[in-house]
């Protein structure tokens, strides 16, 4: 972007943006899951979406309106939107800042820029920032053959600084408002602690998103591929996941993971299959019939406890639902092969202990236990009669 630097040879003090209310973008509230679109649109210079560990980043040059959001309505907040509220200027800034004195020549500063690959250098006098020399200042001076002049003759004096505790969303708004390429950053005592550019913000967000994606992938891997410690006989393991309504494409992963653990622990294959059927049917029930819920599988040395809890709408007649062949599944579920009306009867048949409670508009809680025993030793050859 093209920053407009206004030359000012006066001695205006450095303007540090205030914390106080009244400022258009001051005091961003703490991250809140129900950010309204208007707030997000105002700061939407960086719009990032994180979905299924895939990262797409778009960085617009100015205030963006291509958000697809309607002002005023609550919206789903992406990971990146939360990040730009959570992360602070101090997290993204370059530090320590590369600085120069008012007496240093522009040529010296140009070398500093080249060495450190930066485009602006704050000028300090007795530790206090008095100006900033940007690459534009140097080009202007070069143009007129003054590259050996001291910095103080060409530096921008009316600089605007950010506080290190400002959120990144505020920093983005300040870049939009002022059109500068960089801001010096001061800490709460007014000491220069860093310099921040738009590039720093993008890099920081990318890094954080990558970190979060890696963490998510690691969690998934730990859940599904098997930490060896989970396979130890004596350890109790709890595998839990949120189950979304209508998510037919992801069904069965918990039951798969459970099978892995039970197999590794040498549990009898018939018992493994019974537990797997319960977990799979219980998960499918949440997917087909509820508005969403949670499935948990707790494996201890003696038994597997499977709990499926959904948030509604509830089963109107549990006795009827327990009857084989009774189903309220919709056409999509039926098209995919569900809705045989055998889910709950199957779960009951496979359980050593089974309980189900349902309350309309509250939800259904299903509790099932399967007792574990180790695989039977190979059958003895039959005695000849």
């Amino acid at each position: 972007m093209n920053a407009t630097i206004v030359k000012n040879n006066g001695t205006r003090p450095t303007a540090v943006l205030p914390d106080a209310a009244g400022d258009r973008c001051s005091r961003i509230p703490e991250p809140h899951p129900e950010l309204t679109a208007s707030a997000a649109v105002a700061h939407n210079a960086v719009a990032i979406k994180l979905e299924n560990s895939m990262i797409a980043v778009t960085m617009s040059e100015g205030p963006s309106t291509e958000t697809g959001m309607t002002a005023g309505k609550p919206l789903k907040v992406s990971v990146a939107q939360v990040l730009i509220y959570e992360l602070r200027v101090r997290d993204a800034m370059t530090r320590p800042p590369v600085t120069a004195g008012p007496g240093d020549s522009l040529r010296t500063i140009q070398h500093l820029m080249k060495t450190h690959r930066i485009s602006g250098v704050p000028i300090l006098q007795n530790g206090v920032p008095v100006g900033l020399v940007s690459i534009e200042d140097i080009i202007n001076a070069l143009d007129q053959g003054h590259v050996n002049d001291p910095a103080e003759r060409w530096m921008t004096r009316n600089i605007v600084a950010l506080r290190d505790h400002f959120s990144l969303v505020r920093a983005v708004a300040e870049f939009d408002r002022h059109g500068f390429g960089r801001f010096p950053v001061l800490n709460s005592s007014g000491v220069l602690v860093g310099v921040i550019t738009r590039g720093d913000i993008t890099a920081c967000l990318m890094q954080q998103l990558e970190k979060r994606a890696e963490e998510a992938a690691a969690r998934e891997a730990a859940l599904f591929s098997g930490q060896t410690s989970d396979l130890e006989q004596t350890k109790s393991v709890v595998v839990q996941t949120e189950v979304k309504s209508g998510d037919y494409d992801n069904a069965g992963k918990i039951s798969q993971r459970m099978r892995q653990i039970l197999r590794a622990r040498g549990v009898d294959p018939d018992i493994q299959r019974r537990a797997a059927i319960i977990a799979y049917e219980a998960e499918m029930n949440i997917i087909i019939h509820s508005i969403g819920g949670d499935l948990s599988v707790a494996i201890s040395p003696g038994k597997v406890v499977i709990e499926a809890v959904d948030r509604g709408p509830g089963i109107e007649n549990v006795d009827l639902a327990m009857q084989e062949g009774w189903s309220t599944a919709g056409p999509l579920a039926r098209e995919l092969g569900f809705g045989a009306g055998m889910g709950l009867p199957n779960i009951k048949k496979c359980s050593d202990q089974f309980e189900i409670h349902s309350e309309m508009s509250v939800g259904t809680r299903l509790h099932s236990e399967v007792l574990l025993s180790q695989a039977a030793p190979p059958p003895k050859p039959e005695e000849p009669i």
Partner: protein, 115 residues
């Protein structure tokens, strides 16, 4: 229903003119079950069976894994998406496809001795 006797899948492949979709195309079959209702398969099929169905959604793989089904035969020329085949490969489940309908395929398999 459950017998210790198994049949090699390869020995009955020809009679149903089936095309293997997975890398693996061999299994020891304990019998056969036909159903298009997943819960019905979970309730009544036994492990090691050949499962005949028209469903090609990935839930078939989840269901087959849960029940340790040996192989799945898609009838009427149906074939699942490559992603489903990859998942079956990862789970060690054989997938096959035939142009025959379920009734005809089942009849041929019965005649061939898969009982």
């Amino acid at each position: 229903m459950k017998s210790e006797k198994t049949r090699k899948l390869s020995s009955v492949l020809a009679v149903i003119k089936a095309e293997p979709l997975t890398n693996r195309a061999e299994a020891d079959l304990t019998g056969c079950y036909i159903s298009d209702l997943l819960s019905d398969v979970l309730a009544h099929a036994s492990h090691g069976m050949l499962w005949i169905t028209i469903h090609t959604h990935r839930n078939v793989i989840s269901c087959a894994t849960t029940k340790d089904i040996g192989a799945v035969l898609f009838v009427c020329g149906r074939k699942p998406d490559p992603g489903v085949v990859a998942e079956a490969d990862a789970e060690g489940i054989v997938l096959l496809s035939t142009k025959m309908a379920a009734y005809e395929a089942a009849g041929k398999l019965w005649e061939a001795g898969l009982r």
